[in-house]
């Protein structure tokens, strides 16, 4: 019976499911007030909503396409590798595929943190990574009015699915030695 790297197979399938899910469910969601402003972010689909108008930023859209194709290529490579882990080129497929989901998860979180630090520094607006906080806004040239907004943010289940997918791909790399080992006679 042919050996299969089940971790790689599960990682590939999970990554494909995660890509499909992330088109609809964001990894991270920010809500200002009672939904007056929203930000739905994931590496494959990021959009914003303000006062009933939703929009995306073309540059971020292009980055989303890069991430989507990268994840898709990684998933396909993991699936091909996982059913033929003993072939001469399998290690290359594995090396191509196993790191990308992890890198995308890490870059996504780092990107969020950097964005928040920029908002904190430039706009003096503190945005939570998870949970809720109130933030006071100052309006230029207007005195006598204090505006306080409730900001709620959090990672959604699709983010945790991506973390599971990334972990399975790493596990596939660790398990590779067992499935690719030539049995001693």
């Amino acid at each position: 019976m042919a050996k299969i790297n089940w971790f790689g197979f599960a990682g590939g399938v999970t990554t494909i499911v995660m890509i499909a899910v992330s088109m609809v469910y964001p990894w991270w969601r920010l809500t200002v007030g009672d939904g007056l402003l929203t930000a739905n972010a994931s590496p494959v689909n990021t959009n914003f909503g303000a006062l009933g108008t939703s929009f995306s930023i073309p540059f971020i859209w292009a980055l989303n396409v890069v991430s989507l194709l990268t994840l898709l290529a990684s998933a396909v490579a993991m699936l091909i590798y996982s059913v033929i882990p003993g072939k001469s080129y399998s290690k290359q497929l594995l090396n191509f595929g196993y790191k990308k989901p992890l890198f995308i998860v890490v870059f996504f979180v780092v990107g969020l943190v950097v964005t928040m630090l920029i908002c904190q520094t430039v706009l003096s607006l503190s945005i939570p990574l998870m949970g809720s906080t109130t933030s006071t806004l100052s309006i230029p040239f207007v005195s006598g009015v204090n505006i306080t907004v409730l900001l709620s943010a959090g990672f959604e289940w699709s983010f945790w699915l991506a973390v599971v997918g990334a972990a399975l791909c790493i596990a596939a790399r660790l398990y590779h030695k067992k499935v690719a080992a030539v049995p001693r006679v």
């Binding site: 200002v32 939904g35 007056l36 006598g144 505006i147």
Partner: protein
């Protein structure tokens, strides 16, 4: 084996470069548009009151509707108020509260709050009930206004929650005076 490596490298470069270069080419005549979509202007218009059905920069319109209901037992006044939503998007007036201050002496004589939250579609008007409780001012009104049937008051320290956004107005922002009955009027 080298062929596989080359193919994988080419795939990596292609999927990274093509979307970014494509976006740059699509917006080469308008690089700002790559970062600022046209919807941002639409939203800015909404904020400034330039678009939509209720669009106007008049600010919220608040008007009393009908005579107030006066309850001498609980020293409470219930006043229906019509709130017009001047912005072109739906809002919910979740709460409104403030202190009632005697204009003549700058003394707090009561508290005011909205009875229930009210959702107001864009450009439309809805009515909510403002409840003013005057028990806090009993001593002041008995001692300094006992001969006045009505007392001139104003709302201060007004706090408004509109769709989760809280506005706190200081005294200068809320200069609407009104006459309310003095529950401790002795004639």
């Amino acid at each position: 084996m080298d062929k596989i490596k080359l193919i994988l490298t080419l795939i990596t470069i292609t999927i990274t470069v093509v979307p970014l270069v494509g976006a740059l080419l699509a917006y080469q005549g308008n690089l700002v548009g790559l970062f600022v979509p046209p919807e941002i202007n639409e939203i800015a218009d909404k904020f400034s009151g330039g678009g939509g059905n209720g669009g106007g920069s008049d600010g919220p319109q608040v008007e009393p509707v009908g005579p107030p209901e006066i309850d001498p037992v609980s020293h409470t006044i219930r006043q229906s108020i019509a709130f017009k939503n001047p912005v072109p998007f739906d809002i919910t007036l979740k709460s409104l509260s403030g202190d009632v201050q005697c204009v003549e002496h700058d003394a707090d004589v009561g508290v005011a709050s909205l009875e229930d939250s009210v959702s107001i579609p864009a450009g439309e008007t809805r009515t909510a009930i403002l409840v003013i409780n005057m028990e806090k001012g009993e001593n002041h009104l008995k001692s300094l206004h006992a001969t006045e049937e009505n007392v001139e008051v104003t709302l201060v320290n007004v706090s408004v929650d509109i769709s989760g956004i809280q506005l706190q107005l200081d005294q200068n922002q809320m200069d609407q005076r009104m006459e309310i009955p003095n529950f401790w009027y002795t004639g």
